[in-house]
């Protein structure tokens, strides 16, 4: 019997039991769809993070409190207060000597902002006049506060586009007063609509001098981070090392042991590595979930194929009586199983692709993320091959059962 004929017979019997075939492949469909969904999401997330990291520029370095997080669940950096004003002062003073272009401290919190009866929860960031430079943005009207304003703890605010729209729906914002935590701030600059820049959405921020922020808004005297810009991208690796030394001496740390540090320095390179780590974890998780659902799906296939073999005992007997060899029969059932699971794989790929696309639309529209839909071609190919493989693996036993039937006993079967 030719392979083409065998395929035809297998396809025919699948179509003859349409609803059962559909139910049979459900496990495979779900397994493959989740592979596609998770690969697409993790590729999308990696893409998003990479975009943000790149937006900061290769020259950027960030000093953060606490040790380098050991994994995605390590939040120790959130609970340390080691980066203080004196660190910033020193780095800013030695800027030139250290080959740095800019040094900007960051202290931030989400706070409610009020203008008359309008409220908005903004990302309030205490920093210096150098921050916009690092982000490569400038107010579209008005100005950024000056170095003197920072020293003088001026109550000035530069606001993002969305903040302006929400607080001043139909009046000019510039020169007006807004209230943050009961304190009045004068709007001296308004940013143009810009969306995501690096890790923050510029439209939702309010920049205030960090000095003012520390005294009146945040109730603490340590920073979330200090952002630095190197003179040249090539200097970053050696600069990161130099900065470690500087920070250790500033913090009286005598050993050169990363485990003893109370700060860590991130560079773009490092951020990229971290993205890789997160993707790896997601992939491992995905593999575990997919493997479980596929094994379950495979057992389902085996079950249904065994039922099908029993139901078609007479047909098997007849085919053998008319000249089918054992391998003709086992191949017929094996191909049937493989066709079933590959069809399941295809449906799963389409479904997973569709769901990921939908998700990307939801994420970009409703969460205003620059989320890009990425169809995981490798995932699709792997998913298809795996689903066909499942059919092959779990089809062997039923196919053997079919082939082992004695023709006369099979013909007698009622």
């Amino acid at each position: 019997m030719t392979l083409k004929q065998t395929f035809k017979i297998a396809a025919k019997s699948i179509l003859a039991y349409r609803s059962r075939s559909l139910l049979t492949i459900l496990g495979i469909v779900i397994g493959i769809a989740s592979i596609i969904l998770v690969t697409s999401i993790s590729a999308g997330a990696a893409d998003l993070i990479l975009k943000q990291v790149r937006a900061l520029g290769g020259k950027t370095m960030v000093i953060q409190p606490g040790q380098d997080p050991k994994g995605p669940g390590d939040f120790s950096e959130l609970f340390t207060d080691s980066i203080k004003e004196k660190d910033y002062f020193f780095l800013n003073k030695e800027k030139k000597a250290l080959d740095l272009l800019t040094v900007a401290p960051v202290i931030l919190e989400t706070l409610s902002v009020q203008k008359d009866n309008n409220f908005y929860r903004a990302n309030v960031i205490g920093t210096t006049e150098e921050m916009p430079q690092i982000l490569d943005v400038a107010p579209e009207s008005g100005f950024i506060f000056s170095e003197e304003d920072v020293k003088a703890k001026a109550s000035y605010a530069v606001i993002g586009d969305e903040v302006r729209q929400k607080l001043f729906p139909d009046s000019e914002a510039l020169g007006q007063k807004i209230k943050i935590k009961g304190k009045n701030f004068k709007v001296i600059g308004v940013f143009p609509k810009k969306g995501q820049v690096g890790f923050l959405n510029l439209d939702e921020v309010i920049f205030v001098p960090y000095t003012t922020g520390m005294s009146y808004l945040f109730g603490r005297n340590y920073f979330n981070e200090i952002i630095l810009e190197a003179r040249d991208e090539k200097l970053v690796p050696s600069l990161a090392e130099d900065l470690k030394g500087v920070m250790r001496s500033l913090h009286d740390i005598k050993t050169i042991d990363p485990d003893k540090d109370d700060f860590h320095i991130s560079t773009q390179q490092e951020a990229l590595e971290r993205v890789g780590m997160i993707t790896d974890i997601l992939t491992a998780l995905l593999l575990a979930v997919a493997a479980i659902s596929l094994v379950v799906g495979g057992i389902g296939i085996m079950n249904i194929m065994l039922v099908s073999v029993t139901e078609r005992t007479k047909e098997i007997g007849l085919r053998k009586a008319l000249g089918a060899t054992n391998s003709d029969i086992s191949l017929q059932f094996l191909i049937e199983a493989v066709l079933l699971t590959s069809a399941g794989g295809l449906v799963g790929i389409l479904m997973g692709g569709g769901l990921s696309f939908l998700l990307s639309v939801i994420l970009s529209f409703f969460l205003k993320l620059e989320w890009q839909f990425i169809f995981p071609y490798t995932g699709a190919v792997v998913g298809f091959v795996v689903s066909a493989g499942i059919g092959l693996l779990f089809g062997i036993y039923p196919a053997r059962q079919a082939a082992a039937k004695n023709p006369i006993e099979a013909l007698r079967y009622e």
């Binding site: 019997m1 004929q5 007479k314 008319l322 000249g323 089918a324 054992n326 391998s327 003709d328 006369i408």
Partner: protein
């Protein structure tokens, strides 16, 4: 025929079904030979072992003991693929219970043995239509097997048995489920297969009138051969035996 070796030769054939207390001896001490081109009828009461014998002769089952030579070769020495090929190409089987695929058309049913043959696919439909035409069912080619009458089903089964041009035809009570008119038509076809086309025919029946189409009648009782005689007044193909 040049050689002396008969097509089929049985020595002390025995078939026992089941084990222990539920054992049934279906065949015992069966010895006979059938030559190529012969038309042999096997007769006997229900349960006497006729079908069992035919299944062993047709390589659908194996004996418990004794020897079955087919063309001089011991049937236990054929490999599984060889047996499948024999069933496919050399033997045509017409079953007591038709055994058609009910949801397939007449044409599809007759195509079935061709799918396992080495006949090129381009020839399949032509051969199947020829076989269907030989049993006079051209007008039913695309009908589903379930929708046919008993006589028509039996003729489809015969067409299916003929399609690979076998040299031996096994027919297990081909007229058993048919009325006399359909039965006559079926026997006419089988008779001509032997007299015109020189096929070896081994036919099971319990009706003497049907058996008299054959040249020779072997009678079985309780699994043993009780008589083996030539037919004196052999019927003609078109003979009306319905009375």
């Amino acid at each position: 025929m040049k050689t002396k070796e008969p097509l089929i030769r049985l020595e002390n054939l025995k078939k026992v079904y089941g084990e222990g207390d539920s054992q049934t001896t279906a065949l015992l001490d069966v010895d006979f030979s059938i030559n190529e081109g012969e038309f042999v009828a096997i007769m006997g009461a229900s349960g006497s072992g006729k079908s069992t014998l035919l299944h062993i002769l047709g390589f659908l089952d194996k004996q418990t003991s004794g020897i079955y030579y087919y063309g001089g070769k011991n049937n236990l020495h054929f490999s599984e693929p060889q047996l499948a090929a024999l069933r496919n190409k050399e033997l045509g089987f017409v079953f007591q219970a038709f055994h058609l695929l009910p949801k397939a058309t007449v044409l599809e049913n007759v195509l079935l043995p061709l799918a396992y043959s080495d006949e090129p696919e381009s020839q399949w439909e032509r051969l199947a239509r020829e076989a269907i035409s030989a049993v006079d069912l051209n007008h039913r080619v695309d009908h589903l097997a379930v929708s046919l009458s008993g006589g028509e089903k039996q003729r489809v089964a015969i067409a299916r048995a003929l399609v690979n041009n076998p040299s031996v035809i096994f027919a297990d009570e081909p007229t058993g489920n048919l009325d006399s008119v359909s039965g006559k038509k079926v026997m006419e076809i089988i008779h001509k297969l032997n007299s015109l086309y020189k096929r070896t025919v081994i036919l099971i029946t319990h009706e003497t009138s049907t058996a008299e189409h054959a040249e020779r009648i072997i009678k079985i009782k309780d699994g043993r051969v009780v008589s083996d005689e030539a037919v004196k007044n052999r019927r003609a193909a078109e003979d009306d035996y319905s009375k």
